[in-house]
């Protein structure tokens, strides 16, 4: 489909960044969830927890640039019955404080909500050091963690409530740029942890995507449709626990898959899907992701194009997967 190249250049209307939607949702839910306490490592105006902080100053603590301490404090608060929400850049909270997430949150299974913003290469000009491209893999490696990667503003709003209702540790990945809307404005987006949303049906293959690649998956499906390939599209917003039923049905009913994500090849959604289907019902799978490399500075659109996170690449992968069915 001409004009729909990078994930940010969809023909779909552009909505809020997922970090903005999370920040507004958290602010709106603060009164309804009195146990929520937000702890910040001095990036609240980036992660958008500042909006909660301004509305609920007695339940907001900025402990300075210290992610390890941030996570440890959250573990202590959760031990006392609070529901701490901690947010930083995905790269910093996951990579800098991984041992603390392991020891102070995952090992005791505490009710801490971890939000990693500025995920992926779509943050743009700040470059590779700021880009969380391994966060999903790391989060999935924490026993007991639920791992969420939302596609747009409506689904992020719904996910924010869902993660507060869930008892136990959750990681939510959010992004910096405004992203295309996948879900309509006139109804709450469906969001059940561990249950994929089927956005489009098709019989020739299934495109499994999350984050901003969901919009690209839908654009790719439209392009494929015009050339006679009917693609099912699943918004796999929960990477762990993965929706095994939806994947099994996709494999059995469509016979091939593409997995698209703004993440390294190893340990993300692609790994989770492949592991699940290898056990249950192996079919040809193609992967659209960042491979095994760091990003760099550039415009978000330019980076997504350069690193192949586009509807065109998803469509190309889809054709390859469909061809492999008869091989």
């Amino acid at each position: 489909m001409a004009g729909a190249s990078s994930a940010l250049q969809s023909r779909r209307p552009i909505g809020q960044a997922t970090r903005d939607a999370f920040g507004r949702a958290l602010e709106a839910l603060g009164a309804e969830y009195p146990d929520v306490v937000v702890v910040d490592a001095d990036v609240s105006n980036s992660t958008r927890t500042e909006w909660f902080g301004k509305k609920f100053p007695d339940r907001f603590f900025n402990i300075g640039i210290a992610e390890s301490n941030l996570v440890g404090i959250a573990g202590g608060l959760a031990s006392c019955g609070k529901t701490p929400v901690i947010a930083s850049f995905a790269a910093f909270i996951m990579c800098n404080a991984y041992d603390q997430l392991r020891m102070a949150v995952a090992y005791p299974g505490l009710n801490v909500k971890v939000v990693g913003s500025h995920a992926g290469i779509s943050i743009g000009e700040d470059g590779a050091s700021q880009m969380g491209i391994e966060d999903v893999s790391l989060a999935c490696s924490l026993p007991g963690f639920v791992v969420l990667v939302t596609a747009d503003e409506a689904s992020t709003r719904a996910a924010t409530r869902a993660l507060l209702d869930h008892k136990g540790p959750v990681y939510l990945r959010t992004g910096r740029p405004d992203v295309p809307k996948v879900y309509p404005d006139d109804a709450p987006a469906p969001f059940v942890i561990g249950k994929a949303n089927q956005l489009r049906d098709g019989s020739d293959l299934t495109i499994v995507a999350n984050g901003l690649m969901v919009a690209s998956a839908l654009d790719a499906a439209e392009e494929l449709s015009s050339s006679g390939i009917q693609a099912r599209v699943l918004d796999m917003h929960t990477v762990k626990p993965i929706d095994r039923e939806a994947l099994l049905a996709a494999a059995k009913e469509t016979g091939a898959l593409v997995v698209a994500e703004e993440h390294l090849a190893h340990g993300g959604l692609g790994s989770a899907v492949a592991m699940t289907l290898a056990e249950q019902h192996p079919v040809p799978i193609r992967f659209v992701n960042l491979g095994d490399t760091f990003g760099e500075s550039g415009t978000p659109e330019g980076l997504l194009e350069k690193y192949g996170l586009t509807a065109a690449k998803v469509a190309e992968a889809a054709r390859s997967a469909v061809a492999a069915k008869s091989a």
Partner: protein
């Protein structure tokens, strides 16, 4: 309710004996790192500083003790058994498959353990979280964190120290078990963190330096910490690793004696030395 100094000393002896018996039975563990902290832990649990309910370990108003130096789990378990959280016989299940007395504390498996520790440097942050929760909830409980001295090499300790001072957490006390040894040698040689009290003072804490193996000094220091307003307290407890069996360790030619149990053949001598000791 506080006990007399003499009664507390007897408790500390019993706890030391339990540390020795449980680690020797386990065939592994950290008796020397546990024994240096026996006075501090005894004073906290039996000196009137901590309110707790062994029948309801998660009682929301309880005072908290977080063992940041998780390898000293045997002193925590011995004190908990002494307090009645579980029967003393269970101490002999230390480190065995199925026992809640894991090699390092596990708060999920053993009620009364406040934090799962064993990766050093993390307990003070967790303590800050407890102290902030008390503030948010308007509760009066106090949180005590015991760290090692080698553990102070972890940067997270200082992140936590700065944040505790920022929020003026006078409901938080950190006790440094300054036993002068870490895994591979003298703490001052591995990474010199002196002056420890000076560092905490510079971070905005009230600090005290005491003989941490003198029950009277420990009791007095913990009492003073409760009187401090507007800032957290750090008590640098100068101790000896393996306190109670120092003569035996000298004989064995290893005054650090890190991370290994007393051999069964030496256990009677170790216990006899503890029981004869003045501490």
């Amino acid at each position: 309710m506080s006990e007399t100094i003499d009664a507390l000393k007897q408790r500390a002896k019993a706890i030391r004996v339990d540390i020795l018996r449980s680690t020797t039975e386990a065939g592994s563990g950290h008796p020397s790192s546990s024994m240096s902290a026996a006075e501090v832990v005894t004073a906290l649990y039996f000196g009137g500083f901590m309110n707790y309910d062994v029948k309801n370990p998660r009682w929301p108003d309880r005072d908290r003790f977080i063992l940041s130096k998780g390898h000293a789990a045997p002193v925590l378990y011995a004190a908990m058994a002494e307090a009645g959280y579980f029967p003393k016989e269970e101490l002999l299940t230390l480190r065995k498959l199925g026992s809640p007395l894991e090699g390092h504390p596990n708060m999920v498996r053993l009620g009364g353990v406040e934090a799962s520790t064993g990766s050093l440097g993390q307990g003070l942050s967790i303590g800050v979280g407890h102290a902030l929760a008390a503030r948010v909830d308007g509760k009066g409980y106090h949180t005590y964190v015991l760290t090692g001295d080698g553990e102070l090499g972890e940067g997270q300790i200082w992140e936590a120290a700065a944040s505790a001072a920022k929020y003026g957490l006078d409901n938080l006390t950190c006790i440094v078990d300054r036993n002068h040894f870490q895994q591979t040698g003298a703490a001052e040689e591995v990474l010199n963190m002196d002056p420890i009290d000076g560092k905490f003072t510079a971070f905005g804490w009230h600090t005290q330096v005491i003989n941490g193996n003198d029950m009277g000094e420990v009791m007095a220091a913990l009492g003073r910490a409760r009187q401090v307003k507007g800032r957290p307290t750090c008590i640098v407890a100068l101790t000896h690793k393996g306190q109670g069996m120092l003569k035996l360790l000298e004989t064995l030619g290893d005054t650090n004696y890190h991370g290994k149990p007393i051999k069964p053949a030496d256990l009677d001598a170790a216990i006899a030395e503890v029981e004869a000791g003045g501490s």
